[in-house]
Symmetry: C2
Subunit: 683 residues, 2 copies
């Protein structure tokens, strides 16, 4: 538990630097050494800007309600989650936090789910930064349970349930996932059989694999659950029923007064999770549980008193898509909140890396660890990505809000694909980054109070729930292939990929051998070069995978061909999302009203773009889109831009505008961090 | 907490696959689809081998003592760590586990630290799989505290302390790290001033930054600490003392009878960590604590009654290097144990991926998720790396044991560099892989009982302690540069990098344009091609960084030049370690006595080699070592080998020979995994 041998490394390294200095340098200039970092900081132009101007530009318009959340919890120390807390206490505390928010602070998120999604997501982000469990419990209550009632039900359901959900009198669950089926929702096995005699549905769990699993709010607090089950209608044939596909039903699971589990409902506790232990996930088994016919959430399909099925939509697949399509808000919220988590992690790691000093040139003071190229390499592209994701997810939230008002078909398609892609890409990136932040802060990053452990553990499942990332990326790839096909049939393209239409032909022609060698800084920092490079890659991947799919389908069938090309498809989807993120970042830079802040953002945006290109340089080289000299120039400029961003790193994280009571880690306090840390430990 | 929208993705994907099937396939063969995986499994030759034969080959020779550990803890349910446990209870339990091991099971690791390090590391791995906290607490007591007394002290210390350390009557600490200094051990500020009048050393913490931090065993259990401090000897000049550099001293910190903290010693609790909460880390401040002159661990430097300093070594730097060099065993143990952790994680993820079924071709049963190319891509190169690391770390442990007997200088250098490199490389890889395993197991991977959370949290700090990985890799790079210099001066090369001598010139000549285009499977699977490619990369990186260092030193000085090339140096170090790992894997394949098992290992080894080459294809392309057609062939063969390894994945993890009571995760049980999981939850 002590860095036993670490010093040996550096003793050796120091000795070796000396050896290199004396033997390899034939010029023998070791007698007037200059510290690179100090020398560079002076020699190179540092981008100067006012943090406030940048903060103003990136701050969300619902900052006020977020401040209200922060201040409420700051004023209620008894509602703050301690570093050590048992699962049961944590669940209890999390419920009290939610009740405090709604009933004491008077912040009622439910109305905003429909009326003002931007405000709703701002609240979610803020409560998530108090305790990520609280963020998820809030989401379970209002987006999932509440959202399913509002979006899948009709007026009668809204009239009956809205107030109880809003006030938390009706805590509820969203019971979709089963033990054997997560991603494959169409494979769910729970049944809801219509009983014509009693005008009721009978909910049943036919086997262990169909037990509803991981259901948030179920283990302790829920009174109701929206249960997804196959609707079975009685028929007169030999089978006895007709399977109408997956529908959603409101099922009471606990007595409103006694809170006892209702007859026929069996609830077990899913127990400890890697994180989010403030959320009580349970497993539900139904044994012939009877509910009123009125409890079918009947917006997309209804059953009459006579057992007749009616729907505004013609097929099971379309009804299923419409049902799940209403739940896309969950993904939007996760993508947005994930950026919030990334901001906190990057802020802590950057501030500590500026504070922490270790080693230095002979007989000179030690240098900040952020002065090491390796630390810049770990953290500066991450800081740039955080800015990039910020603008992309703000864009997504805006589009989602527009969609909720206009219901425009094109916008619906766009938001669906964009939310899938950004949710998958951003949450995977954040998950990896939190680990890098921990590691880059060394031993002190391992102290629980410095947050990386809980951030990582709580955030981890963002990659899985609301759609497994690997599955979501396939949806993006599928959409791209559809667009590709339509292009060649002259159809219209959704907004997000209109670049394909505009430039697919030029992207798919042979790379220009002249521009492939251009290596000037001005060219490499030209947004046109950067976007072209991203889009070239996407177009190329798209065209080649379409060809491969066609080829393999002949022998393997559609499923086999898709699987044979799966890694290719996932790369395509990621490449496309990166194109969209870069485009949004470039727009944001152009939009920034303060010239100095704009100059700073431009450096950050260039780092984002060139680091991504460098990370996939093999692909560019393989098709000679980039010649060797250009590849080298990109690499060099990326290092240089990392260094430039390092010089404004403190200001850049300050501009996220996260108060110390949000970041909380003692090693990241804006003043006296070390002494706040020693005080915490008891000195 | 429910995969709300996931189904939408697949509905869309399914729809799209249909679209692709009907529109892109001009041949229209969708009416006789074949499942790729099933078709492949039949069409492609599956490597057949007996698991036991392979297990026999890879099983360590100290399996017996490991079984004894497993069985002891299996027979003592009260000593098993529950999923939820408070920090204080965990610390208490961990001490009881250690006492049980030593006093009840009669396994006394201390003697093996010197006598039989291979056996010692086998015990460490086994106790670590019971609870990683126990593994670390064992290491703190016997390798760090015990090891420092034996290796840095002399006979008088051994006589006085051996039995107490061995029997746990003298629980102790290793107090090196300070709040402000971890990696930079030479920057430690704690002082030990010799008091000539009283024949004592006076230990002092001069400022808050010098508080000993993260000291294992200090918060609760330790009675002694080996304290690293600057030795100050009185002089008659104006300064009043002479700084002799960092030395180690035995300092009693708690009363042997009352366990009260001794006067002048202030101990605070470092509190909760991200993981390893069974280990009680504390922070120590010394206020003029007096210890006998005999408490200086005086193997490499001594102080006489008259205050005269004597040492067998001529300089402070040499003494410092010798002192820390004795502690290299810690790194060997971490590299070895990290592979043990990786085996557990890979076994759980692979078994679950074989069990779990999700989606499938229309109207056919769902397929195992390990049949998806994306899942193979995540897990199969990881499984191959686990085998590769197994052979490399077994080799390291053997070399370390030889070194402890022979003290051969060349072997010492070799073990130092190899332990630094493997510790850094393997622990970083394992840390990333545990996260990938969690994510690849979806929601059920997030259940605490399925282990990924605690494995990741406990293992995380392996990247930092016993030498921060980024610092250790620099040591490796420094060693390589030294070897490079010596080569050009005709000197000898250490064993591990003798390949540089043999082939540096050929590697540094221009790549052969003919072989750069060879793409046949036989060629790509030829160990000579693979090793050449790895070594070419290392040689190239080495030569180019040497040139860059020389160039930059002229303007930036040695420190600045090193920093300017830091990412390059880290890549060089990783590349070298990969070469060593591959070489050891190839040797192991050749050594395997069972022909069928050998054939299986060969597939695994080829996947390891080609996956690594593909991951850095940009470098190979940039210098035209690999032509575009060959790059494509490597990529294709890597996918194919992943599929081949998938077909024997169950057997390969079985051959790790980890009983169910070691893997423990219900989703990875060798029979009835789902029902063991539902039973765990209460059904």
């Amino acid at each position: 538990m002590d860095s036993g041998c670490s010093g040996n490394a550096i003793a050796a390294a120091t000795e070796r630097i000396r050896l290199i200095g004396s033997h390899l340098e034939e010029g023998g200039v070791a007698d007037h050494p200059r510290l690179e970092t100090a020398a560079c900081a002076k020699a190179m132009r540092k981008v100067e800007f006012e943090t406030d101007r940048l903060a103003e530009f990136i701050r969300g318009k619902h900052r006020e309600v977020q401040e209200k959340v922060y201040e409420y919890f700051l004023s209620r120390p008894e509602l703050q989650t301690p570093v050590e807390i048992s699962m049961n206490e944590h669940r209890d505390l999390c419920m009290r936090q939610l009740l405090g928010l709604v009933r004491d602070a008077g912040i009622r998120p439910f109305r905003y789910v429909l009326e003002d999604p931007e405000k709703y997501f701002a609240i979610l982000e803020a409560v998530g930064s108090v305790d990520m469990s609280l963020g998820i419990k809030t989401g379970v209550q209002f987006s999932l349970w509440g959202g399913s009632v509002i979006n899948l039900g009709t007026k009668k359901h809204r009239d009956k349930y809205f107030d109880g959900i809003d006030s938390l009198e009706y805590p509820g669950c969203f019971a979709m996932t089963e033990l054997h089926h997560g991603s494959n929702v169409q494979g769910l096995q729970t049944t809801a059989t219509f009983d014509l005699v009693n005008d009721e549905f009978v909910i049943n769990t036919p086997n262990d694999g169909a037990i509803k699993w991981w259901i948030g709010n179920a283990a302790v607090h829920g009174k109701f659950a929206t249960v997804f089950a196959r609707l079975l209608l009685p028929t007169h044939d030999i089978k006895g029923h007709s399977d109408m596909g997956v529908h959603a039903f409101i099922v009471p699971i606990r007595d409103m007064k006694t809170h006892q589990t209702l007859p026929g409902v069996e609830i077990n506790d899913c127990g400890h999770k890697v994180g989010l232990n403030g959320v009580d996930n349970g497993a539900l088994r139904f044994r012939s549980v009877r509910i009123s016919r009125e409890n079918l959430l009947n917006r997309f399909g209804d059953v009459s008193r006579e057992g007749k099925y009616t729907s505004p939509l013609p097929t099971i697949n379309k009804r299923f898509a419409a049902t799940l399509g209403e739940l896309v808000g969950g993904r939007v919220g996760l993508a947005y909140s994930s950026v919030g988590v990334l901001k906190i992690a990057v802020t802590i790691a950057t501030r500590y890396s500026l504070l922490r000093q270790q080693f230095g040139p002979p007989k000179q003071p030690e240098v900040s660890i952020l002065d090491y190229q390796s630390q810049q390499h770990k953290l500066m592209p991450m800081l740039a990505s955080t800015y990039a994701f910020h603008f992309a997810t703000v864009h997504l939230v805006q589009k989602y809000s527009e969609m909720k008002v206009s219901h425009d078909d094109e916008l619906v398609g766009d938001v669906h694909a964009l939310s899938a892609g950004l949710k998958a890409y951003v949450t995977s990136y954040t998950a990896k980054s939190i680990s890098i932040c921990r590691e880059s802060c060394g031993g002190h990053g391992y102290a629980a109070v410095n947050r990386f452990g809980s951030l990582r553990n709580d955030h981890d499942i963002f990659q899985t729930f609301e759609g497994d990332n690997t599955v979501l990326l396939q949806q993006v790839a599928g959409d791209l292939l559809k667009q590709y096909k339509e292009k060649f049939q002259g159809g219209t393209l959704a907004v997000t990929w209109s670049y394909l239409k505009e430039s697919m032909n030029s992207y798919l022609s042979q790379p220009n051998p002249v521009t492939a060698r251009w290596e000037g800084e001005e060219h490499l920092r030209d947004p046109k070069f950067q976007l072209d490079a991203f889009r070239y890659r996407t177009s190329r991947l798209l065209q080649s995978v379409a060809v491969r799919l066609r080829k393999h389908s002949q022998n393997l069938g559609a499923f086999g061909a898709w699987n044979r090309c799966l890694n290719h498809l996932l790369t395509l989807a990621e490449s496309h999302i990166e194109s969209v993120i870069l485009a949004k970042f470039i727009e944001a830079v152009q939009r920034c009203p303060d010239k100095n802040a704009q100059a700073a953002l431009k450096v950050v945006c260039d780092l984002y773009a060139l680091d991504r290109i460098w990370n996939d340089i093999g692909t560019y080289r393989n098709v000679d889109y980039v010649a060797p000299n250009k590849a080298k120039a990109i690499h060099k400029l990326t290092d240089y831009l990392s260094f430039q961003v390092r010089n404004i790193a403190g200001e850049l994280v300050d501009a996220f505008d996260l108060p110390d009571h949000v970041t909380r880690a003692p090693i990241a306090m804006q003043s006296e961090a070390y002494s706040q840390y020693t005080q915490y430990v008891g000195f």
